[in-house]
Subunit: 174 residues, 2 copies
DNA sequence: CCAACCATGTAAGCTGTTACATGATTGA
DNA sequence: TCAATCATGTAACAGCTTACATGGTTGG
């Protein structure tokens, strides 16, 4: 179960699709960072079908059928969505597939994401302040600072995102 | 030639080292994001030696020798350092290994890095503003915004880094 | 008929990960 | 001697990329 597999499960839960339609999503959105080309997507779909997490039902206009989530797939997706945050990139993918109606899950995620990003940023700060970075060139230090700034941007994003939901909850369009 | 290969060449140019010493660098610095464990580093070193980019000379206190850069390795490293910027993560790795004394190369790099990050940020902005993002959930949009914020942080970092070099050039410690 | 695109699939090759296998040396 | 650490290596496996293969359909 790679990030790509979960992205496929998440997309299929949103809307049952054909393999081709799924490929198009990766080709036309920033989700493309998780894959590209048939060589990864079709085998991944086959594996998910074999594992009983997806099944093909109904039939598109001409070709085969559309992939649907099985109960097992639903479970696997939910387990993944609820798992503790490790890699921040994977966490962001998860965020995009959190259920729309579960405000608690969303806020809980943002809290944990901010904590994880903050901890990693502090880790880099400690590295730069400590003796591990002795003898490093100025450029190498600046490269580490780049990572730190990026993590700080994640922290700031989490706070900003919480505000967005707050505004949406209060009825943004009025 | 993967990013890991170039990281090894860059480290060896800084200071000839044994395979074990190189591994330790990856284990004890943020460079660890590019590898981990002997399973990738030792084979990569063997491949670089076979390709004539590294050679083992001299001898450490007990074990084998130390890896040194060959003229071919020097050339390969310089080619890589001067290549156009594509992936920003790889670019940052390159930045860390730019020659310390080449102020022109450093400023040129920061210019190009800022441009690349800015262009990518604008690409995401256009995606969010255009019809490609129609029908996306608010969370999916926010996830894209996260990417945009991170790229903006890269742009800001590049400007900040230029100032750091400006101060260093004027003699920062006085 | 030919070109182009829809739609799916497979095979070869590269990298990296995990986990295990050596041996040498150092300290209790 | 036992455990730990130094120092190197390998074998099995997973995943992705590139590139090619296969058919159907649409339009000139």
């Amino acid at each position: 179960m790679t990030p790509l597999s979960y992205a496929l499960l998440g997309l299929v839960r949103q809307l049952p699709r054909s393999g081709y339609a799924l490929r198009k999503v990766f080709e036309t959105t920033p989700l493309g960072g998780y894959s590209s080309s048939p060589g990864s997507i079709y085998p991944a779909l086959k594996a998910l079908e074999k594992a009983g997490l997806l099944e093909t039902r109904g039939s598109a206009s001409h070709g085969k059928g559309l992939y649907h989530l099985t109960p097992g797939g639903e479970r696997a997706l939910n387990d993944w969505l609820g798992a503790p945050i490790g890699d921040l990139g994977e966490a962001m993918l998860r965020f995009a597939f959190l259920p729309d109606d579960d405000a608690h899950a969303i806020h809980s995620f943002l809290d944990r994401f901010e904590q994880a990003a903050s901890a990693q940023a502090q880790g880099l700060g400690a590295f730069l302040a400590g003796d591990g970075s002795d003898g490093m060139s100025m450029k190498a230090r600046l490269a580490v600072e780049h990572g730190r700034h990026g993590l700080q941007a994640s922290v700031d994003w989490a706070r900003w995102a919480r505000r967005q939901f707050g505004e949406a909850d209060r009825g943004g369009s009025g």
